[in-house]
Each structure stands twice: as structure tokens, then as C-alpha cells.
Symmetry: C2
Subunit: 400 residues, 2 copies
């Protein structure tokens, strides 16, 4: 029997009426003979409402408590969806992350899935037609409830598909993947198919449709992912191995990542221990930095990197703490930057992409501050005010 | 170290501000050196809001799904309270019913506690100062989430106290137990102490401060229960074994149970199987009936009983179903009745209580339809319009 994991995000289940519409759609697919595992997020604004309550208590809530609170959001969605399915005479089984056997490791609020209990699903499908799993949540070896952090429900869905070796369909309120955000470049084309590698670059570089951790799982377990618009007839995008793609283009997409901050650190003497302390602290707080540049010589240490501004508060705290051990440490945090990236799996084979990009920005008088390259992408940090113009110019140059 | 279970009901935790007030109170007690286990209900109207959503989907939700949904209410309360405690530097550990090891049996929405994991608490108190448990919920042997039905959070608290052999304090928005509901008889006195037996009669007869199942657990494990008003200096009521009470009165209270319905069943022939079918059906739906009268002779079967009107819909369904097998079954459901009960553990030793009650009602021209007696109580069904007057007259007669 055909088995599929489907995931519906928060805006797709934002109201009881939307949940009923999804129940109708799922009923048809179950009646067509599919075994479905459905992963859902919290309804629309639920998480924001819970957080508003928390912030009326404290600005720094205990992480274990917060994970416990936030997971009630998805638990409510799975209950409503299961009630709707059972009401349509489809035998539905709702499962919290704990009940679904989603074991995690790491911080309570940024846990990573370590194991999924696949036997449970085989067993439940003997009795039930559809299994509805709370996304974004799991439990650790202390039996404590954890959450998976940003894009957590996608991760739940892809991890389940990987463990069960079946395809994964992810539904949101946009249709598939575009070569560039259509709000920036209205002529953007929707991609029918994209490789894991390209999609990972797009995600890591801020295209944001799916987090890179989800794509990485799909890639490692060779699970195709479909990205589509909830309850829409429009064709979405398949993410799959490169080898299955017929046609390669040098550049398939341009990603724009706004709200970046740029951090500069100086210390008059170069202590390897200092670098170590910095990165241990970043790792412990699970802060992602990218575009690291470092100069170390007799005149001391100079380090700069970029990151999302959402973690600005944490990074401030870290450096204030470090200054207690290194009183001469100087740091500066600047905001208002945008990262523009050009992505394409064909880039490995083709030359000239890099120089085309440089020329485009230079001709347009757009200054860029830091450049990093990967095997299939090139990224530039530019002033926020030039971000979208740079992206549009690059789309035109590469005929996206 | 002194260990106590405390329970705060839904109106006591109806807002974040109320939760913070309770956190302040609990902090003081923890700092005074107590080990506290706190059981909380869902915040104020949360359950009603969840049910409103459900009823926009269906009138007959799947019970497993509904239990899953409703338990999110207490899970949110324990999270907020734990965040508040941790914010006050009190090491708090929130536990869902599942995490607290509260095993249950029976219907998903009316489960009974079968086991509590006490070792867990001893273990957690090595690390934490206070353990916060979601009331009203548990899990069954299928690892499904269950709820404990009416008064469920009280049951959680008393069962934990019983398992841990420590006292239980139950806080609500009324102060302790009165000889009669002060809304009916303003001169009502608050009782300082009441026996398990008297309290069970009061509860079973509708006095409603605490369900009889909770008191039964306390009695079986010999756990004293304190009923008090949340964050109030006023002294409440202790419920404890009869033997510890210095003074006995023949009558300690009058209970008034409104919203009763009266069901009459007739069948032209007396089939023992029919009676069996009726009670099996009532048992399966876990419907509580009381005051059963039955006449069976050559002219057939006549059965009447009273029950709360909240289950009127279910009872209708049962009898409609039974009529498919017994087409000659006739049933009538009448509402607008009140049950008035006179309770007192001294009643065992003293005579004349029954005749005093009869005389009071007859003198006042209040007709009564059914009478039942237990070792320490006498109950009468009267027309709803006479209920409160009957209760007041009895209070005067017995000088309560």
C-alpha cells in the first residue's frame, strides 16, 4: 500500500474551517487507498499567543518549561484534525511527539531528532487509516518534552519519511520553489524540480522555504520531497537527487537573506584560547554564524562574521561574558545588511559565474563587504538598501 | 522534610497574574523548607474555549481525540507556573500526567487512576524544589492520553498524596465546607473538621465541594485533606478520620442537589435479561444513577431512578437503542427535581433523625417522591421549586 508523509504548516491549519478542508482532502486520499501520516504545526497565531503570556511573566523563561508550553499548540491541532477525520469515519490516531517515539538530543528548544520508532507506525496501520503526528516536538532521554526549533515541523515530517522510507509532501501557503522570491523579482519562474544540494544552498542562504536540516535528512535517506501549496491544483516543486534531473543550469536561483548583522571582534593579542572560547560559547548556545573571516598576526586577532539579527541579544550576552575573562576584547555589532547568493548545481562544471556576479555588482556601483563561496553557490554581503536591486540585476544577468 | 500535595483549581489559576500570586505563595513555603507537589487545573475558561472549537466540528467527537485536546489546558498551566517558579529561583519541574506516571483504566474521558509512580518523585526531589503536576490527566496501557472526568484534578492531588503518604491541601474560591450551601441558608456555619464519611455523603448527595471518589481515596489511605480558599488567611476545613473528631453531632450538614431528572421505565413482561441489559448499558457509558426503585411482578417491570440532568442525552440514546430489542419498553424522563439530604456521622448512634425530617416536610406541605437512606444520611426527592425551602427548614430544625 502506498504510504506518504504529508505536512501542513501553521497557516494551513490556522482555523477550524481550514482544518475541516484539509480533513476533506485527506479523506479522499485515504479512500483512494493511501496510508497517510500527517504532520501538523500549531494553529496560526497560537505560538505567538502563548509567548505573549510567557513574556508577561519573564523575559528569560526556563527552556524546559517553554518547550512544555509550546508543544500544546501542535497537540491541539492534531486533536482537532483527528476529531475531524474520525467524524468522517476515517479511523484516525493522533500522536504527540512523545507518543510517536521521536527521540531527541540537545537543547530543549533546539533539539535534534536522534531516533524514530518505525515499528509503531506499522503496528498502528493495522488498526488506523491515518496517523496524525504533532510536528516540532519530541522527547529526550530524561523523558522531558523538547521542541525542534525553527522549521521543526518540516524536520518531523522529513525524519518520519526517512525512517519509513516513503515520500514527503510539504504544504505551505506558497507554491513550490522559485528561482528567486517573486516579491523581489516578479518574473521569477517556479522550478519543477531542484536538487537537494541546490535546495540546501538556497535554504542555508536564506531562501527559507525549507530549512537545510530537513533537506539534509532527505538527502541522506534519499527521500523525495514535494513542496506544494495547500489544497491547490497548481504543480509545486520536487526536491530530489541530482542524478534524476534531466537538465542542468549553471544558476538555478538567487537567494536574498535580509536582517543580517555583521559582527567585528578585535583583541590586541592573539590567544588561540580566545578563539576557542568564542566558538565554544556559540556552539553551546547553538547560534549559527556564517561568512567567517579571520586575521591573526602580531597585531592581534581580528574576526568578523555575519548572522541573523534574531540572535543579537544572545550574542551580546556572550561577548559581555567573555569580556570578563578578556578585558581588552573589543566587539562591534552592525545591522542593516543583506546577503545575496547565487546558486546552481551546474556551477561545479561551469566557469565564469563568479566573474559575472562580480561584474554585475561593480557595474551597478553596489559595494559588497564579504564574499564566501561554496561548491555550488556564491554569497555577498551588501547594504540592506541595495539587497533587492542586486538580486534583480543578478536574475536578469542569469536569465532566471 | 515535610512534604505536601497542594491543588489549585481552574478559577485560582484563571490568569497569568493569579498564577504569579500563587508562585509567590509557593516560593515562601519552599523557602520555609517544605517539599511541595502542586497539582493545577486548566486556566479558567480554557476548557470551554477548546470545547467550543470541537463543537464547531462535530457534536460527537472521538473520546480519545477529545482527551488529547483537553489535556493541553493543564499542560499550559503547569508550564506557566513552572516558568514563574524558576523565574523566582525555585527549581521547578513540570510534569504532564504521563510524565508523572499516572496510569489509568477505563473510558478515555472518565478514566480511573490505577497506579502512581512514587519513586519518580523521590528521585526528582533530589534535584528540584517543587514538582508541578498537570491535574485531570493520565495515560492508559496503550500509552494513550486520558482524562479523569469530573473533579479530576482533585483526584490527581489526592491520589498523589495517598501514594506519597502526605497531606493534601485543596484550594478553591470558597472557604472550606459549610453545614449547608450559604447561598441557600446564609446562617450556615463553616465546619472546622468533618469526617471522610460525612464528606462522602455530602459529595455523593451533591454538596459538590469535592467528589466522593477523591474522598474515598483519602479515606482508604488515611490521608488528611484540607479544603481552603486560595491565598486566604481564613481557616478552612479538615477532612479526616472520624476517630480524630472530638465532638459528634447527629446532623452536620444538609446537601441540596439541583438539576435532577427522574426516569420511569415500564415493560409489560418481566424479563430479567432486560434489567441486565439496562444496567450493562448504563455501566458501559459510565452513567451514575442513584435512588433506584424497582417493582417486578406479574404485571411486568417498573423501574425508576434519578440522575443528574447532564447525562439526559446519553440516557435517551440508551433507551432508544434498547427499544430496538424490546419494542414494548416504555420510558419517561421528567426533569425539575431537587434532592435534599440530611447528613451526619452521629446519625448511626442517634434515633429520631428520620422522623424529624419527615415531620418537617409534612408540616410544610412539601411533597416528596422518593426516599433513600444510608448509614449516615437520608435523601428526599422534591419538586425543584420546593428544594431550597425544604433545606432551610431542615437547617432550622437541626440548628445548623
Amino acid at each position: 500500500m502506498k504510504r506518504t508523509v504529508l505536512k501542513f504548516g501553521g497557516s494551513s491549519v490556522a482555523s477550524i474551517d481550514k482544518i475541516k478542508d484539509i480533513a476533506n482532502y485527506l479523506s479522499r486520499r485515504v479512500k483512494d487507498g493511501e496510508q497517510l501520516i500527517v504532520v501538523v504545526s500549531a494553529m496560526g497565531k497560537t505560538t505567538d499567543e502563548l509567548l505573549a503570556h510567557v513574556h508577561s511573566i519573564t523575559d528569560s523563561p526556563n527552556e524546559q518549561d517553554l518547550a512544555m508550553l509550546l508543544t500544546t499548540g501542535e497537540q491541539q491541532t492534531i486533536s482537532y484534525l483527528s476529531i475531524s477525520m474520525n467524524d468522517r469515519d476515517i479511523k484516525a490516531k493522533p500522536l504527540t511527539g512523545f507518543q510517536a517515539g521521536i527521540e531527541t538530543v540537545g537543547h530543549h528548544l533546539k533539539s535534534k531528532i536522534s531516533k524514530v520508532n518505525t515499528k509503531l507506525f506499522d503496528h498502528l496501520f493495522l488498526t488506523y487509516d491515518i496517523i496524525i503526528v504533532a510536528g516540532f516536538q519530541g522527547f529526550n532521554d530524561e523523558n522531558e518534552i523538547t521542541t525542534l526549533g525553527r522549521g521543526g515541523s518540516d524536520t518531523t515530517a522529513v525524519a518520519l519519511a526517512a525512517a519509513l522510507q516513503c515520500p514527503c509532501e510539504i504544504y505551505t501557503d506558497v507554491t513550490g520553489v522559485y528561482s528567486i522570491d517573486p516579491r523581489i523579482y516578479p518574473e521569477a519562474k517556479r522550478l519543477k524540480v531542484v536538487s537537494y544540494e541546490e535546495m540546501m544552498e538556497m535554504s542555508a542562504l536564506g531562501a527559507g522555504v525549507l530549512t537545510s536540516r530537513s533537506i539534509e535528512i532527505a538527502k541522506n535517506y534519499n527521500i523525495p520531497i514535494y513542496l506544494g501549496k495547500t489544497l491547490s491544483q497548481e504543480k509545486g516543486t520536487w526536491i530530489m537527487p541530482t542524478i534524476e534531473m534531466l537538465e542542468k543550469k549553471a544558476v538555478t536561483g538567487v537567494a536574498v537573506d535580509k536582517d543580517m548583522i555583521h559582527i567585528t571582534l578585535n583583541h590586541p593579542a592573539y590567544y588561540p584560547q580566545l578563539l576557542d572560547d568564542i566558538f565554544i560559547n556559540l556552539e553551546q548556545e547553538e547560534i549559527n554564524v556564517d561568512m567567517i573571516s579571520q586575521i591573526a598576526n602580531n597585531e592581534g586577532l581580528q574576526l568578523s562574521f555575519t548572522m541573523k539579527d534574531t540572535e543579537e541579544h544572545q550574542i551580546q550576552q556572550i561577548f559581555k561574558r567573555l569580556r570578563q575573562d578578556y578585558p581588552e576584547l573589543y566587539f562591534k555589532i552592525e545591522d542593516q545588511f543583506t546577503k545575496v547568493s547565487v546558486i546552481g548545481s551546474g556551477m561545479r562544471d561551469m566557469t565564469g559565474v563568479a566573474s559575472k556576479v562580480f561584474r554585475t555588482l561593480i557595474e551597478a556601483n553596489i559595494p559588497f563587504y564579504q564574499v564566501t563561496t561554496s561548491e555550488i553557490s556564491i554569497s555577498y554581503v551588501v547594504d540592506a538598501k541595495y539587497g533587492e536591486r542586486a538580486a534583480r540585476l543578478l536574475c536578469e544577468r542569469f536569465e532566471l
